[in-house]
């Protein structure tokens, strides 16, 4: 086998390697390009966050000007949602879904490449706004209207030049990529599963990708429509959002949040997939309540389409509107609770292995629960009237995004890195990464709730002394140092392990889904022989032919 590998290995020039990656239509390489691209933007948005936290660490700070601060929080939010979280999740799904369902590639490999490049160029166009001052006419500044770009702030009178247009056009382009990716995932999952893999045997990661893709299809469209309307307003004399000419700013808010709130579920649902794959393997038990998990995920996806106006309690909706969106938002807690209980029940009675992927999952469970609880608090309209646009809200959604999504992404990295590279990540560095990042996360975001409760509004570039906010902000800013240290350890671990990590073998975790049945890293064709599946844990059946799962499912 070794001699065969050597015989098949050919050395290529750097130019050939670059061409190979740029021209690839292989789902694994495209997945990796998504991930690497997202990690680069993660570093950029992290630097933006650090700059903002330095500014807010103490009162009356002049480290950043108000204008720069506005640009930073706009770029931080936009980058985080559209050019970090979405691409990284699309990347993992690209890499894993075909392997998990026993396919050789995605349904539309060329569309897959196109989707990636659209996303990539969208991000580059957004950041071109920083440099546009010298090279392009009129522009020269980054967008500064917030990641939700509320009207009338985006009107030409308040946003001259092209900074807002960079935001609009880059998201339009990235949105085309997202829709292409979603179409591809749905087609792949529906039509390319291997023999025997019924929907009721499909890995939960594939199920979550299906739900996520369906949500992308539904939710990107209103955002695209709103952006086109905004372009019409700005350049063709339209009045969609112009209140002085019969337009309505509330329409923009509705359009944005019809996209924006399901978008949170677009991001968290694939993370549910990560957790649902990792927790059973490290609990050494089959997933508890698989059908309930699928039903709950589909339910969350469905209900999430009807909750958007809980972002608008302070806009001034009728009481029936408020009551409706309070109730629908509360309803999300039911399927979410089912999922959390099922993960706990999977762990309960199991022989838990506290490896790095698992401890990140446990961190996720704890933090996502708290994020959900503060979400329920904010879903209560009178409570929201008190705390809307305060740092309590910022703390809540960072608990979701960082405590939930980022922790599960870290878990996914530690779990699938051996499959992707053929080498293990260092467990010791992984645990250092976990604990330091955990401390940093809680220092920053636990204490961020308090200034929110004390009335500190979000998006202010500085604040006066004596309001009782200084200590909490200083603690939050100190936490960022720990988070940055954790990220550095993670990056070092990935680079160091790529060259010197322990050889992983095909199945280092003794796992049960199909990606672990092929080599690490997998060959271009994924499987030498397409697998045949008889249960939800096909590798268990192969490893334990005396006691296969299919007898009991």
């Amino acid at each position: 086998m070794a001699s065969e590998s050597i015989a098949l290995t050919v050395h290529r020039s750097p130019l050939q390697v670059v061409y190979e990656w740029m021209a690839t239509v292989d789902h694994k390489k495209i997945g990796l390009m998504y991930i690497v691209y997202a990690l680069l933007f993660l570093v950029i948005m992290g630097i933006e966050a650090i700059l903002m936290r330095i500014q807010l660490a103490h009162s009356n700070s002049t480290f950043l000007s108000p204008q720069v601060f506005n640009r930073l929080f706009t770029m931080h939010g936009t980058t985080g949602v559209f050019f970090v979280a979405m691409p990284i999740l699309f990347g993992f799904a690209n890499y894993l879904v075909p392997l998990m369902i026993g396919a050789r590639d995605m349904a539309f490999p060329r569309l897959n490449a196109f989707s990636f490049w659209m996303t990539a160029f969208g991000g580059l166009l957004l950041y071109a706004s920083f440099f546009a001052g010298k090279g392009f006419s009129q522009g020269g500044i980054a967008p500064d209207v917030g990641w939700f770009a509320y009207a009338p702030l985006t009107a030409p009178a308040f946003s001259p030049g092209h900074s807002t247009d960079y935001w609009t056009l880059s998201l339009l382009i990235a949105g085309v990529g997202s829709i292409g990716g979603a179409v591809n995932f749905i087609a792949t999952i529906i039509s390319m599963r291997c023999r025997g893999m019924t929907l009721s045997r499909m890995p939960l990661m594939a199920w979550m990708s299906l739900v996520m893709s369906s949500l992308v299809l539904v939710t990107i469209s209103p955002l695209t429509a709103a952006q086109l309307m905004l372009m019409v307003d700005r350049y063709m004399g339209g009045h969609f959002f112009d209140t002085t000419a019969g337009g309505s700013v509330v329409i923009w808010i509705h359009f944005f949040w019809i996209f924006g709130h399901p978008e949170v579920y677009v991001l968290i649902i694939p993370c549910f997939g990560f957790i649902s794959e990792i927790v059973p393997v490290f609990s050494r038990k089959a997933m508890f309540g698989y059908p309930a998990m699928v039903a709950a995920s589909v339910g969350i996806g469905f209900v999430s389409l009807g909750v958007w106006a809980h972002h608008m309690f302070t806009v001034g909706m009728p009481s029936y509107g408020n009551a409706f969106f309070v109730l629908t938002t509360m309803v999300v807690a039911v399927p979410t609770g089912i999922k959390i209980f099922n993960w706990l029940a999977t762990m309960w009675g199991g022989k838990i292995v506290f490896a790095t992927p698992m401890i990140f999952c446990i961190g996720f469970l704890f933090q996502f629960l708290i994020a959900g609880l503060t979400g329920i608090m904010l879903a209560t309209a009178p409570f929201d009237w008190q705390l809307a646009n305060s740092y309590f809200v910022v703390a809540h959604f960072h608990y979701v995004i960082v405590g939930g999504i980022l922790f599960s992404i870290f878990a996914a990295f530690y779990y699938w890195y051996p499959k992707i590279t053929g080498r293990m990540l260092s467990e010791m560095l992984g645990k250092w990464h976990f604990w330091i990042f955990l401390i940093g996360f809680h220092l920053t975001f636990d204490f961020m709730h308090v200034p929110g409760l004390l009335g500190m509004p979000r998006r202010i570039y500085t604040y006066e002394a004596g309001r009782g906010w200084e200590t909490w902000n200083m603690i939050s800013s100190i936490g960022v140092i720990f988070q940055a240290a954790g990220i550095l350890i993670f990056v070092y671990n990935m680079i160091q392990s790529y060259f010197r990590g322990t050889i992983a073998g095909n199945d280092p975790w003794d796992a049960w889904t199909l990606e672990w049945s092929t080599t690490s890293p997998p060959p271009e064709y994924d499987f030498a022989t397409l697998p045949v599946v008889r249960s939800r844990r096909p590798l268990w059946d192969l490893k334990h032919p005396d006691d296969p799962d299919w007898k009991y499912e």
């Binding site: 522009g139 025997g196 059908p291």
Partner: protein, 284 residues
Amino acid sequence: MSSTRDCDPTAPAGRRFTLPSPTLWPGVLALGFALAAAGLLSSKLLSLGGLALGVIGCIGWFFQVLPKEKHRAVEGPAEPAVIAVSRRRVSRIEVEGVHRARLPLEIYPISAGIKGGLAGAVAMAAAAMLYGAVAHRSVWYPINLLGAVVYAQTQVSTRQISAFHIELLLVATVLHITTSILVGLLYGAILPMLPRRPILVGGLFAPLAWTGLLYSVLDIIDPLLNQKISWPWFLASQVAFGLVAGLVVVRQARVPTWQYPLALRAGVETPGVMRETGRENSPS
């Protein structure tokens, strides 16, 4: 950097796999779109160049798939990867007649949770009304406070809170019974998983934790209600609920957990659900 060599069709060794050809055209098309958009903000020439690139990308892409999709052959190994397990020993929780058990082995029936919730509701109401009678000489005081959580029209005096209001009684009754039943159901579900001192956890620890949580945030959520609440009595009524509900639940007979999936119990025949027949199932 290594990669799998493109296959020579005449090569005898290994298997050949047909995969889509690599192509730059989707990337060229995407670049064309991006430049066309960037040109809108800078120069028409850039937009025109982007559109031209887009057209070239489209044409190139069409020729990738029309009239016949372009493929390349990749050589793979003669044998697939070996699947092995390092851990042959498997621990199982076995129960009589069942090879693999679903946990927990026994649960309380749903009726136990409902009974517990209703009994706890009575105990909690009694404690709260006792507080009203002692502290405000009116059993309606705590009832009106509870009703006012969701149905409060105006700010009222203590005297008015102590009076009888039929609408607040109805609202409070519905709220109290509904919440009590839901918490009773939660007790029924959770107590079997707490084999050690379930009454201590359900009757004391949980009410204490809930009261502590509410005490810490109620001033923010509803400062007016916070002013009217006597926290020692609040805690006492919560403990009354927890103790009674817990005692009623644990006195109910446990039932064994169903060890087969719902579809199997219902006798549903679907491709994803199989019965244990002793012979190997064929994939559907």
